[in-house]
Symmetry: C5
Subunit: 366 residues, 5 copies
Amino acid sequence: MTTRRPKPEKSQGKPKSRKRSRTSGLPPGTLVYIGPEREGPVHITAMTYDRSGVTEFPVLDPEKVGQIPKDHLITWINVDGLQNIHAVETIGKQLNIHPLVLEDIVDTTQRPKIEVTDDYTFIVFKTLTFDETTSEIVSEHVSLVLGEHCLITFQETAGDPFDLVRNRIRSSVGRLRTSGPDYLAYALIDAVVDDYFSVLEKLAEGIEVLEEDLATRADPQMLREIHKLKVDMIVLRRSVWPLREVLNRLSKGDAPLVQKETIPYLMDVYDHTIHVIETMETYRDIVSGMLDIYLSSISNRLNQIMKVLTIISTIFIPLTFLSGWYGMNFKYMPELSWKWGYPMVIVVALTIVSLLLYLFRRNEWI
Amino acid sequence: MTTRRPKPEKSQGKPKSRKRSRTSGLPPGTLVYIGPEREGPVHITAMTYDRSGVTEFPVLDPEKVGQIPKDHLITWINVDGLQNIHAVETIGKQLNIHPLVLEDIVDTTQRPKIEVTDDYTFIVFKTLTFDETTSEIVSEHVSLVLGEHCLITFQETAGDPFDLVRNRIRSSVGRLRTSGPDYLAYALIDAVVDDYFSVLEKLAEGIEVLEEDLATRADPQMLREIHKLKVDMIVLRRSVWPLREVLNRLSKGDAPLVQKETIPYLMDVYDHTIHVIETMETYRDIVSGMLDIYLSSISNRLNQIMKVLTIISTIFIPLTFLSGWYGMNFKYMPELSWKWGYPMVIVVALTIVSLLLYLFRRNEWI
Amino acid sequence: MTTRRPKPEKSQGKPKSRKRSRTSGLPPGTLVYIGPEREGPVHITAMTYDRSGVTEFPVLDPEKVGQIPKDHLITWINVDGLQNIHAVETIGKQLNIHPLVLEDIVDTTQRPKIEVTDDYTFIVFKTLTFDETTSEIVSEHVSLVLGEHCLITFQETAGDPFDLVRNRIRSSVGRLRTSGPDYLAYALIDAVVDDYFSVLEKLAEGIEVLEEDLATRADPQMLREIHKLKVDMIVLRRSVWPLREVLNRLSKGDAPLVQKETIPYLMDVYDHTIHVIETMETYRDIVSGMLDIYLSSISNRLNQIMKVLTIISTIFIPLTFLSGWYGMNFKYMPELSWKWGYPMVIVVALTIVSLLLYLFRRNEWI
Amino acid sequence: MTTRRPKPEKSQGKPKSRKRSRTSGLPPGTLVYIGPEREGPVHITAMTYDRSGVTEFPVLDPEKVGQIPKDHLITWINVDGLQNIHAVETIGKQLNIHPLVLEDIVDTTQRPKIEVTDDYTFIVFKTLTFDETTSEIVSEHVSLVLGEHCLITFQETAGDPFDLVRNRIRSSVGRLRTSGPDYLAYALIDAVVDDYFSVLEKLAEGIEVLEEDLATRADPQMLREIHKLKVDMIVLRRSVWPLREVLNRLSKGDAPLVQKETIPYLMDVYDHTIHVIETMETYRDIVSGMLDIYLSSISNRLNQIMKVLTIISTIFIPLTFLSGWYGMNFKYMPELSWKWGYPMVIVVALTIVSLLLYLFRRNEWI
Amino acid sequence: MTTRRPKPEKSQGKPKSRKRSRTSGLPPGTLVYIGPEREGPVHITAMTYDRSGVTEFPVLDPEKVGQIPKDHLITWINVDGLQNIHAVETIGKQLNIHPLVLEDIVDTTQRPKIEVTDDYTFIVFKTLTFDETTSEIVSEHVSLVLGEHCLITFQETAGDPFDLVRNRIRSSVGRLRTSGPDYLAYALIDAVVDDYFSVLEKLAEGIEVLEEDLATRADPQMLREIHKLKVDMIVLRRSVWPLREVLNRLSKGDAPLVQKETIPYLMDVYDHTIHVIETMETYRDIVSGMLDIYLSSISNRLNQIMKVLTIISTIFIPLTFLSGWYGMNFKYMPELSWKWGYPMVIVVALTIVSLLLYLFRRNEWI
């Protein structure tokens, strides 16, 4: 299970719901995949484990999801590739998942949410990673269906955070192996939220670079970078803010399938989301302060330019007039034939220049 | 039943209540049609259906609405053409609808709301469609009166979303045919909310076009387009925000006529309205970021213009002074008769130009 | 009873509390009239009515308010002319109204509020009318004291909305005649709120005119008009926002003297105030968008002006230098005596102009 | 007892907590006077009164506060001069006041608050007066300790509002003399809140003056005045907003020592604080609107200046070029020797001027 | 125990979580130190005290923390040097602290929070000091674990506020010695909050300096200083705002280990945090007002510059044209040979200058 990302969705916050209108006019419960174009079959892997051991195997046929051998107490079924509507529908039927829940699973524009029923708890959230090549935040849609002895997860593509948890299950008999599927759900959410901090750090780097740039230059490109930072923060907020609500409800014990021992852990990850949100608020304030600096530095530069123009004009325009004056061709113009006429004009010109320079200096223009 | 829209109301958010003052001084319960000018008679259609079958027939005389044969369990009476006050009043009397409710039905400026009584649940909401020819969002006023076995709907003109539901009733024995009028009401609201996404996507397209334009040019027309986008979002928010409240109350089980099985569906459409609202908030942030870019690009352009002026002036004003100086007609002006006077001036002029160009380069002006 | 308005209070939102300091240092319950200067005696009219008939008579002496013959079940006493402190105090004593309530009745700067006691419900609100001659919103202070069989109303001057209700009582045996004084209070509030819509429509007209003006011209006067619109909206908000709260409490059944049948009507007028508030919010957003357009159109115009200046300067400054150059009077200046010197200069000048025009065109300046 | 104010604290909202750090590192309950520098001894006056009479006497020694003869039912002890820490501490000990309460009494930066215990109710608030000589709002710190039969008040300096109440006690057997110390506390708060209106009216005057100035001129000084108004409003808000909360709690009957008959009076003064707050909000909106007008009038003026420059330049630069052209000294320049050369140039110059004037007129520049 | 601060963390609000990503992928409960690079061993000191006496001793080996002799009733164990993960982990195990709590103790980016369990109350908060040498606010991470007879504190480095409390314990038998560890926890928090006021006063000084500067000059550097002030306030708010919540919960009696007698003290320090927050809000409003003044003073200066340019240009450009005109070399130019030609031109030039000066004066330009 590798970490392919065929065509990462451009999560610029804008064209999210582009294909949302495909569902228009369809009866509720009709599955329609909403998201970036993707191809390839669905990948289903099952993992059963408990204190005594771990068994893993791929599930090749969606029809056979219902017959997964339950070697151990806890079963984790992971499904990658939401574009394969038919497979998701089959899995849903086998595992008795409500059609409206399936609709949310294949709608990658669905915001994070929680739905608690007596039989299962359904949680939607987003993974966020920073794509170094495109400098963009890549968001992916993840759904969890938490049953009594079983957790079913749905992803757009296979991804890092889940692999980390999978390795922890395989490698040692830690808390993960001794707790129920609710702790597994927590571990997955926690791994995803940990990634949010990486994205946050990327934003912080961007802000630092911009602040240094602001101190030295202020070209129009910067405004676009500030705008991009803002949009990135909007994307992040849209993912984290509702997740915070989800975790708040979970950590308050609203979901009967979440055991009491897991609640402190959920409160911990809830705390992390608050940390992300507060840091983001701080960044937002800083970025909007940078915008003020940028805008006022443009004004300052205009002032600088105008000062140069005004100094040059103010010095030379009177001088030009003076020389033009004695360029007049009047027959009777006594100064022209004076012996000291030309030296006098030189003195007048120097006086004007000195006076103006003095005035500029006094007004702190130069 | 076609989709005529004789004179679509310009839902620019402003002149909505233009004719609201017509009701001034009238006793409450007096029916006054408030809305865009429309003509033509009222159209009433009745549909009764249940699991066993569907019967449809037009009702030509409003007086006979009370005598519609109830072939099947569930009756859906649809009324198009609110401008026909007398007909609406007659229907209201026949079906025992409170005068204040009728007042809200014919007031197309009425905001979305819900009123729950023991006998019926009254819901007002808005359809929104994007009119491609005028590039405007067209809003229409829809009212539902949900009784125990019957749903009465009032529209300004006949429209698409209702036709889609009607076809689903006709075509198959799905959930619509097996559930009560509360599910029918849900299906109608859901169809309308699905249309909101189309409007949202139109807005997203407008934003994308504007963003591309911003990158290449920034003319005053853009500000008007940004303003139009903002006003469109205000129209959308005015329709969606109160509808969210309506659906929240419905999905909390406040209305006794809504059955428990329908509630998950209402929660789903409530979720959709939250999605619309959050996406709109995101758009608003992006649009206000674009406004910043636009405004600062105007300032930048001014800087650009001033730079050109200043460079030209700063280079030529001293040169012009120089040539004016030796254009003076003093008799005793020794330089004029020097052999190397003219070449010297050329050298001085070239020196000034070189120096200024060097300074401009150093300040990164050119 | 005519609609005189001797000196309408300038309700510009600012100097409202000008005379408020007159009460400073006085013990609570001391009646001090706060409001615009007015003269003339108090007018008291009484109206008793029920299903069987209506009796109206003026009350000439405030001392005799307590002895009004109660021919019919419901009594409505209306008092115009709050500046007459002594008369109001006498009426208050006769009818057993608490001194603090009387203080609020004669304080025209008192914000809308409700006070519920076991004996009566005291409601303060504002009438708003648009004065066509001064283009200003005129606000008047109205107080209702609702008893079990009696309603006492206090106005600054006699006014339209109350006359409309009075006529409805006189003319027919409608709901007004068959219901209690709580319905009468509702009818009065409803009549006043209906007038708010007229004011709202005036604002909408003002906004439309401004929007059209913005498209064609943008002079400094517009900013003042935008400012005036904003201040008008503040006045409106100050009247409507607390009234909404008053109606919310009334429609929740907080006042024991309000009967259950009247509550749907109060909810209806509560709904109207929400409509007014939401429309106003929309207007505020639109107006602040207009401010952005106005401010940026000023910047655009500056750009336009600077462009013209720069084009003219950039074309002529080099040419002027060129001609100045050959205006120099050096003895040894070979070009001057060349045969083709002058045509050469013409060619150079034309080349410069062509080149600059080409550059301007390329930069889309002209 | 006169109204000395030796060194009124500059309540500019900024340096309030300058000496707050003096308490740093001290154990809680250590009394430290925080506030403007003041000198002089403490003044203690006691007043006992009831329906039957009033007795007043100064208390010279703080040690003897505990032995004040209680001639009448209600005792009011007033202490002026908080800078005298030792005296305040002695009084506190004599009257059994908690050290933390004493700390708040001598900390003039303490925000308005209420503390309710079984034995007493402790209320902190601020008097506000407008100092005509410095045009500044002067704020003073007042504390009330309300016991069962006794009210102790602490002031920075003796002041007007308390004298007014004192006179009312002396002069007549009104409600003040017949009610308990809770009504006395109300009367003092009411007197102070009445003064807020005077401050508000001063602000209103300042706003009016500024608005008139805006209409005629817009110099940089105005911005400072707008800023000062804003800071004054911040000072006012900091005093009124928490007092509103205090009064809200009092009027809800939270304090057991407040009798039921006093509650309508407390609600009345609570209402006054809301009036102050709402008026202030209105002022804030108006002032920020004025800021917009001011800023845009600066831009407009720049446009005006640039227009003048551009008109002058655009007219004369071509003319100057023209005359420079025929100032060239080429030997072979046929126009110079034409008979009609000079008149022709005059005609060309006039044509240029006319054309430009026409263009300016068309663009509405002149 | 000195006050070394080897490398104070730059608490600029931005790069706080730089190393947060180090925890990514680790199972929860894995201790990772997050914070500025620090070296050196951990310092553990223990202090046991009660009314009868005080015993202090250093603990050299973290393994022996569990065997601290309990000479007196109350034990305070203080740990400095969070970078030493292994030592912290050992201490945690000895004292039975939950791994998630330990994780928060060594994460210096953790926001202030409270966790209440049956066995202990865990509180996180921040010390803030103003570093005079770097003009920056230095924030440090402090954690308290409050047990029944014992308080364990964790600091990044040893610091002033704690030393002050330690001295009070040593010096006298005050409330500290007679109360439980909850009062000790209060005393530590109170000492830290007292330091916040010092930081606030530094901000106030910065604001005052800036205000004076604004009145005299307005250079681009000021904007950076305003920005720095804003960022400092963000840092402060991030520390104080959540601490306020912590204290609110504590003073409401949520923590069973906090005794009733301590609650008034906690309410007092809660009140102090509100004071800090409100003062900060005031500062924020003032600073944003200063930004307006700064920005408009830039615009004003531009106007000033443009005025100078325009006055100079407008006076000399017509004069230059005039002199250029009579510099033309036409053969037939009658004025040139007039006797009074030159004086006439002088008169015309003076007239133009006078007229323009008059116009400038009238427009109040000079």
